[in-house]
């Protein structure tokens, strides 16, 4: 029972990281119907910049976080403005491929800068700290990722529901023509979506890097973020609550399979594919996910 509670807690924490990553995908998709395959590398870039700012430039965590978010958002906004805007109306194939091009660029860029050493996980606490109750470990990073994810969701909710730009984003997602008619600048909305997505990616990346007590991370961080794909398919591509629920569900599936697979007939590393198997199942039964709208099937 202790093991189970432990696994559920860890799964919840990891699921929150996935939820943040999934939110990044969904926000971009809602605004511009683009699936950003480079989202994983946004995580890597953001986390790497924060790490460099903290441990090389010796800045505090929060200034470093601001720099990381700034750099990642800037890359996103620039990519949207310089590249994606010229690709409007092209087939989805080309748009997906162009984000894969960006993925390769960002990943290689970080590989060159990292140069073989693994950067330290940039968190403002000891990655191994925490407390335990009745044998269940509550790691500081896990608690922080749950709390911060809740705060980010709350912030997004308030932003989308009550601010002028948030309303503009929602209007654009529903009907671009109508949004334009209401005097909303679509380009601002796109920039905003890519910026917010970059910021959330940075935050998610930091938690994912520190994981369950990792003092450092490597360049495969971006690839491990691809598990957010099953999350967004499960939740529904264009649904923000879906991204959160899907992320948490996938985190739980991942950690629970990891916890119980050892010695079983499933062999090693089954947890790496369990989320994808769930995803394939969802695609076969309910392609628009739990909360998505049906029309996105046509993408």
């Amino acid at each position: 029972m202790t093991t189970f509670i432990q696994l559920v807690f860890s799964g919840l924490a990891l699921g929150c990281d996935y939820a943040l990553i999934a939110l990044g995908f969904t926000i971009i998709f809602k605004a511009s119907e683009v699936i950003n395959f480079a989202q994983g590398e946004f995580l890597l870039v953001g986390t790497f910049v924060v790490s460099v700012a903290m441990f090389t430039w010796r800045l505090g965590f929060f200034p470093a976080l601001v720099i990381g978010i700034g750099v990642t958002s800037l890359i996103g906004v620039l990519f949207e403005r310089v590249v994606l805007r010229r690709m409007i109306g092209r087939p989805p194939f080309n748009i997906i491929m162009v984000t894969i091009g960006l993925d390769v660029l960002l990943l290689t860029g970080v590989i060159i800068l990292v140069g073989g050493r693994n950067p330290s996980s940039p968190v403002p606490f000891d990655t191994l700290s925490g407390f335990s109750i009745g044998g269940v470990e509550f790691g500081a990073n896990a608690i922080a990722s749950i709390v911060v994810t809740a705060l980010v969701c709350l912030g997004l909710y308030i932003f989308l529901r009550y601010t002028r730009y948030g309303l503009a984003m929602r209007a654009t997602a529903i009907d671009q023509e109508a949004a334009r008619a209401m005097g909303i600048k679509i380009s601002t909305v796109y920039a905003l979506a890519w910026g917010i997505s970059g910021a959330i990616a940075t935050i998610g990346g930091i938690f994912l890097a520190a994981g369950a007590g990792n003092p450092s991370f490597d360049v495969t961080l971006g690839q491990s973020a691809l598990v957010a794909f099953p999350a967004i398919i499960l939740g529904g591509l264009d649904s923000i609550p879906g991204a959160v629920v899907g992320g948490i569900a996938i985190g739980l599936i991942y950690v629970l399979t990891q916890g119980y697979e050892s010695g079983g007939f499933l062999g090693a590393n089954f947890h790496l594919i369990a989320p994808y198997l769930v995803m394939i199942l969802v695609l076969m039964i309910r392609p628009h996910g739990l909360f998505g709208t049906r029309k996105v099937e046509r993408v």
Binding site: R90, P92, F93, N94, V98, I112, A268, L272, L283
Partner: protein, 414 residues
């Protein structure tokens, strides 16, 4: 049934001289010239380039076969796939299982030691069969969804390759992949035949070049005939294609199976050439590199596949040989592998933005411009002299289905 009845007599006397039909890839003088130039260049490298360069050519030819496979599915039929690495892995382990000899290292699984004439085709056929098994599920999905499902295939493959130790060797990999040969003769040992000394790499070259040429001509022929036309129609507009009589499922499955077959063959050859493969060999990066190859070389083009493979896979080695950069990625700074990755990442974006038909499209554009220029100089009618990319070099960049349907009025082009 296949013999068409006489032409309808809308006007009573047709006065046309029927131009000879040139559907065979080989019958195109352009292709023949390019092929001969290609073989000539390769021949020079083969004879005078040194063993190192021959080994680069060997590897490039294997990648080119894989790129052809990916181009069948993504370039011609327009179906996004990140899963090509999975099918290469299937081909490699089929070859290892059927053709592999006794273990070279402890932990190597035993192979059946069958002939090259069995394991090479079998590697393609097994990959094709698995493609046929996966296809019906995957191809129900479109665009982004298909992309993610094929991505999942790569991860599922890595899991299977890790756990099916009796075939793959598990995490430490397998090193007893078979080497091609006939009877006592092996392509993988330096031998003197008819008084000519050839290295292993040169022997492999003599095997791989004909294989690549056969694959290229095969794909080129398919692309120019009935099935290829159906693929491009499915890529451009599914509804219109099916109204014209194209069975979407059959067309997509055909592309998926041929693509898997070629990937399987390439995987087997790759494993045979490099002598070792771990589950991590068949990773997402491999798929992404092949996507980069066809996008840079030219989607829906045979020559584009070959050029793209050369660019993505031979470039880092070429950069290495110039010795301007540190050799390994483990030290800080720019390695040749990193530099070429930056280059192809950048080129994917630039080509998709400005020339979705890749290098091949660029070559056509240059030729069109020169021809226009010459035509103008001669005072001819430029419109009739304009060369346009022929069918199998057509671009991916077309109006998506729903957009085209939404437009109420067709727009007159130009």
């Amino acid at each position: 049934m296949s013999t068409p009845s006489p032409a309808p007599a809308v006007s009573p006397t047709p006065t046309v001289s029927v131009t000879p039909a040139r559907a065979n890839w080989w019958h195109s003088s352009r292709n023949r010239t390019l092929l001969l130039i290609g073989i000539l260049v390769l021949g020079v490298v083969f004879l005078f380039g040194g063993d190192g360069w021959v080994s680069v050519l060997d590897a490039t030819m294997v990648w080119a076969i894989a790129a052809l496979g990916l181009n069948v599915l993504s370039g011609y039929a327009g179906q996004i796939s990140l899963g090509i690495a999975f099918f290469m892995g299937i081909g490699a382990y089929t070859a290892g299982w059927l053709g592999g000899g006794p273990p070279l290292f402890p932990g190597d699984p035993n192979g059946l030691g069958l002939s090259f004439l069995i394991w090479l085709p079998a590697s393609g056929i097994v990959a094709a069969l698995i493609g046929a098994l996966v296809g019906p599920t995957a191809l129900r999905l479109k665009g982004f969804y298909l992309g993610i499902v094929t991505l999942a295939l790569v991860f599922i493959g890595q899991y299977l390759f890790l756990n099916l130790r009796s075939v793959t060797g598990g995490a430490q990999g397998r090193s007893n992949f078979p080497t091609p040969g006939f009877g006592d003769f092996s392509f993988a040992s330096p031998t003197t035949v008819l008084g000519v000394d050839l290295t292993i790499n040169q022997w492999y070259f003599l095997l791989l070049l004909p294989l690549l040429v056969i694959a290229a001509i095969f794909v080129g022929n398919v692309a120019r005939t009935r099935v290829g036309r159906a693929w491009r129609a499915v890529r451009d507009n599914e509804v219109a294609a099916s109204i014209m009589g194209v069975n979407l499922f059959v067309a997509k499955m055909g592309a998926f199976i041929l693509s898997s077959f070629l990937a399987g063959i390439a995987g087997a050859l790759y494993a045979s050439l490099s002598g070792i493969a771990t589950p991590g060999t068949w990773n997402l990066l491999l798929s992404v590199q092949l996507i980069a190859a066809i996008l840079i070389g030219g989607a829906a083009s045979v020559w584009g596949s070959i050029l793209g493979a050369a660019f993505v896979f031979a470039l880092p080695i070429a950069l290495d040989s110039l010795q301007l950069l540190p050799q390994s990625a483990s030290s800080t700074g720019l390695s040749s592998g990193d530099l070429s990755a930056i280059l192809y990442g950048l080129l994917i974006i630039v080509f998709l933005l400005y020339e979705p038909a890749g290098v091949i499209g660029l070559i056509y554009r240059l030729r069109t411009t020169t021809q226009r220029f010459e035509a103008r100089r001669k005072g001819g009618d430029p419109a009739t002299q304009t060369m346009t990319p022929s069918d199998n070099e057509s671009q991916l960049d077309v109006e998506p289905v729903d957009r085209a349907e939404r437009t109420d009025m067709p727009q007159a082009p130009n």
